[in-house]
Symmetry: C2
Subunit: 344 residues, 2 copies
DNA sequence: CTGAAAGCGCTAACAC
DNA sequence: GTGTTAGCGCTTTCAG
């Protein structure tokens, strides 16, 4: 039988000894970015590493270097079902650049984000990215900003995705404009009576989308009264429920705008379940891939997800500038079957 | 203006000094699992840490301890949209237990898995989990096994999810049984003429599901000829295309079994696009949440995703046993609208 | 181009 | 209980 006594993993010094060089040389050959190792030695080291099954001890490397390579992404609110295109994008983008990627997931409470950021900080990554919604009335924002600022002061880079308005490099969506354009498109299709199904009251994303939508309507001479804006949770289920509430109130509605696709799906499903699917149009926001096969296909605002992660990473690896930069990613309206032209 | 000179992050010794204790005591108060610090001192340390904005340097901790806490998950084949219930499950399960979670994503090639495992190894995590499909003819399996074995020899714990048949603790689905039960259920509904849309030829998962399905048919006296089994990629798009091929061949088909839900969606969409949705039944496998609102709702084999991650973690934290354990997670057939009873 | 030596920040015996 | 003293495995001056 094989001996089961815990063996220690091969260390750099083991590799060095086997290759007949010093640890310093082995280090340079294996991980050092600088050149400056004779080819013979480099070969020897590489070979020794292979026969020993050596893998760099990243932690030790991070301690010695003072910082660990790659990006750590903090995500607020990982959904159990729906796709998170941002995570996928960042995973892909880091992979393409050969950067190690680590994910830290934050719990649902407002304070959880700060906690998660501190956990992420403890990894001392070169790049820290944060994504996920934020409430406008979030009392923990100062804590968050402070944590992030110390982190930058220590030499790390911070990029926010979606978290507009904080003093860090940011990639954000043109939520307002998307809402505006969508409203105009729907009016162009002939709709006049609208309702909005939105998420929690203080969410920035939904607020901007809703405001943009209202502005778009206003510019077409249509006013959206407060009773036509339904506030619930940011989920498909909440949207499903809210739609029922709306219709029960007998408010005449030709089209419902849900502030994201997941919610639009809830609206759509409610309408279908109650047999009113062909009487009320539905539009969403995001254009998530997982929904491309729903029927009727969903009119929505397409967001170029792939670009988001790339832009974020580009910001992160470029030298810092005096003041924080914000990259706005614009979406565009995609009209599909869920909002057929309305002839009156 | 504030000074921009890179400040160093607060170290444990800084905290200790401010609290008027030794580094050892500070360490014990902050991170040490043992008790043995007077309450006064503990308070002092905690307070000092807070005023200094101290966060543990995880890397240093890992070096000192020889291993880093938490689980690293290696995922083969992260889809565009990140709709991976296993990842979500593991994120949730680790979070519930307060364990740090790290994700390493493997590229699409067979050798990429080994590479990703070695990257994961270099983090020296306590627990290494691997998920994602494997081909039966994968030539890199020996390398994978070797890497994983050295890792265990070094004291790490390995748990495989979905990757049956390797000498490590494993959580797997009852793919064969699921296929079998589904076949029986469909026969019970009155179907007799079947086709299977499957993924790459050498995939273990799809092979087991297909074999189980065929066995289920066989036990009902139905044979599935080879020309009724379509092999393509493991994606919605491939399934869409393959369905077209199938129908063009004029093979009489009453029901199509797609080996996973994503592919079933492709089948469904093709049928809908060509107006034959109500003539051919469709069934999938997985019961992924994102598809709960498709129409017609999809008959499928429900897999208890939540359990998978929990079981995997339970295996990982329990002491190792002499021989590798395998936990089989069973699914159950859920009949929905996509396979209405067929009266003949 | 290479090696010796001094840390990186933390933990873990081992004394007191 | 608490402090002292060695390291953990790697990188990085600094000499040569």
């Amino acid at each position: 039988m094989t001996d089961t006594a815990p063996v220690r993993a091969a260390r750099l010094s083991d590799v060095a000894r086997l290759a007949g060089v010093s640890a310093a040389t082995a280090s340079r050959a294996l991980n050092g970015s600088d050149r400056g190792v004779r080819d013979v030695n480099r070969q020897r080291v590489l070979e020794a590493a292979k026969t020993l099954g050596y893998t760099t001890n990243i932690a030790a490397q991070a301690v010695a270097r003072g910082r660990s390579r790659g990006v750590t992404l903090v995500v607020k609110g990982i959904p159990d079902d729906f796709a998170n295109p941002i995570i996928a994008g960042v995973v892909g983008a880091t992979q393409r650049r050969g950067l190690p990627f680590t994910l830290v997931s934050a719990g649902p409470g407002p304070a959880d984000l700060v906690e998660a950021v501190n956990l992420a900080r403890s990894h001392r990554p070169e790049i820290l990215m944060i994504t996920g919604g934020r409430a406008t009335d979030d009392a923990t924002v100062p804590d968050l900003v402070e944590a992030l600022q110390s982190y930058e002061a220590e030499g790390g880079r911070v990029v926010l995705i979606t978290q507009e308005g904080l003093p860090f490099d940011t990639v954000a969506y043109a939520n307002r404009k998307g809402g505006y354009d969508l409203a105009q498109a729907l009016v162009g299709l002939g709709y006049r009576e609208f309702a909005v199904v939105s998420g929690m009251e203080h969410g920035m994303t939904q607020r901007d989308r809703t405001e943009g939508f209202m502005a778009g309507l206003a510019d077409a001479g249509i006013e959206l009264s407060a009773d036509r804006i339904l506030i619930g949770e940011f989920t498909r289920d909440a949207a499903y429920a809210k739609t029922g509430e709306l219709l029960r109130r007998k408010i005449p509605v030709e089209a419902i705008f849900a502030v994201n696709d997941a919610m639009a799906l809830g609206v759509l499903t409610f309408l279908r379940d109650t047999g009113s699917a062909d009487q009320v149009a539905v539009a969403g926001f995001d254009d998530i891939k997982a929904l491309r096969d729903v029927t009727p296909s969903l009119t929505t605002v397409h967001l170029p997800w792939e670009q988001v992660a790339d832009k974020a990473l580009a910001l992160a690896v470029s030298p810092r500038e005096g003041s924080p930069r914000t990259e706005i990613v614009e979406g565009h309206v995609v009209v599909r079957e869920s909002t057929p032209p309305l002839y009156r």
